[in-house]
């Protein structure tokens, strides 16, 4: 029997469940190695070569190189592991989050200072279109 996944209809959200954790295992474990400053240096010097040391799919590697975090989420990446890439790129967690929303850093910051993104219209997929 399939697992119950009642969270599948939350819009703009990828839940890091068993399937995603398995799919993204090597993406995330690669990110872990960036906690060591020597690895950060080696990665930045030749990203493709560093990524080729990992049994990741070509799509996963390309998404890392592109810093396409929404694509990486679909391919099993998790944001707490992305944090290692954020620090490698010297960007803050808020800057990283802004990237995934498609907003500019300034607009995202203004939204947060203004109280954050409202849950209204953001609870169920398709809610905005229907409502």
């Amino acid at each position: 029997m399939a697992l119950d996944k009642p969270y599948k209809d939350i819009p703009g959200t990828t839940v890091f469940d068993s399937d995603m954790a398995r799919l993204g295992y090597h993406v995330n474990q690669f990110c872990m190695t960036l906690m060591d400053p020597r690895n950060r240096e080696r990665f930045l010097a030749d990203e493709s070569a560093y990524l080729d040391e990992w049994p990741m799919s070509e799509a996963q590697k390309q998404a890392v190189i592109d810093r396409d975090y929404n694509q990486l989420l679909k391919l099993g990446g998790n944001v707490y592991y992305f944090a290692k890439l954020f620090s490698t790129d010297k960007i803050s967690f808020a800057q990283g989050a802004a990237l995934m929303t498609g907003m500019s850093e300034e607009d995202y910051k203004d939204m947060m200072v203004g109280g954050g993104r409202s849950p209204e219209g953001n609870r169920f997929s398709g809610e905005k279109e229907n409502g």
């Binding site: 969270y7 959200t13 872990m32 707490y80 944090a83 490698t88 990283g96 409202s118 849950p119």
Partner: protein, 279 residues
């Protein structure tokens, strides 16, 4: 015997630690957040807990995906500060309370909660930011700490009900320890926030304030909230709030609320803080 006297809950946003470490707490962005902890610093200076049982989550610092303990109790003499990619925070190492930790571990496992025992573990902002918020920047932390890490990253975290019941078991275990110690339990993380995907930045003021009310007077109802409701209503990372229920389970059913604070935002997150004393 050891006494469990009070519970404290608060968010543990990394940017809060950065603001303190870089001396930005008086900036307009940060000032209202830190003002809500002025009372708390005075309060804890009066309370002088000997040991903090600190419920938090590791953020892929000590635990990657190679081992994912649902509940892990730190039993070591000392815990070093993790390097989360920007160098370790400039805060003192955390001194453990191994005698009490090993005691609690044995009692709680015998009470049917299958904890993982950890003797080597670095601690990240999830643990150090709460200490900073309550104690400021001392040369040494004025208390011993038992780090208690809960998996909230790889779905599913433990249920709210399980966390609440675990809190009760921790309380019994602490109070069967044969030393006169003043022990507090802290629950950290939350409140509403989402760090990932197009919906990042979600904040739910109503959910958070209802949760703050409920943690005081109706934790049983909060304990029955399913994970999906946290994620839908309070953001995918809002599910961290189950850790507050461990804290609440360890307190009397009837408690005194001595302080409350709520502020949006700290970076991506709604910051909630509450202090509860056993009567």
């Amino acid at each position: 015997m050891a006494r469990l006297t009070a519970g404290v809950a608060m968010s543990h946003v990394p940017a809060i630690g950065v603001a303190v470490d870089l001396d930005k707490t008086d900036e307009p962005y940060w000032k209202p957040l830190f003002a809500g902890f002025d009372f708390s610093k005075d309060w804890i200076a009066r309370q002088k807990p000997d040991v903090i049982f600190l419920v938090y989550n590791d953020h892929a610092s000590a635990f990657g995906l190679e081992t994912i303990p649902t509940f892990a109790i730190g039993c070591a003499e000392e815990f070093e500060i993790a390097d989360e990619g920007w160098g370790p925070r400039p805060v003192p190492n955390v001194k453990g309370a191994p005698d009490l930790a090993w005691h609690v571990r044995q009692a709680v496992i015998q009470d049917n909660f299958d904890l993982t025992t950890v003797n080597e573990m670095k601690v990240d902002h999830g643990l150090t930011v709460p200490l900073t918020l309550m104690y400021g920047q001392p040369a040494q932390w004025p208390c011993l700490v038992i780090p208690f890490a809960v998996n909230v990253i790889v779905y599913p975290p433990p249920s709210g009900q399980r966390c609440f019941e675990l809190g009760k078991a921790i309380r019994s275990a602490v109070e069967s320890f044969d030393q006169d110690l003043n022990v507090q339990i802290w629950g950290t993380g939350g409140m509403s926030h989402q760090l990932q995907g197009p919906r990042a930045g979600l904040i739910n003021h109503e959910f958070d304030n209802n949760f703050l009310d409920g943690i005081v007077s109706d934790p049983e109802s909060l304990a029955s909230i399913p994970h999906v409701d946290y994620m839908r209503e309070a953001g995918s990372e809002g599910v961290e709030l189950v850790m507050w229920l461990v804290m609440r389970g360890a307190l009397d059913s009837d408690v005194n609320e001595v302080h409350r604070h709520y502020h949006v935002p700290a970076s991506n997150t709604a910051v909630g803080h509450i202090i509860l004393e056993n009567k």
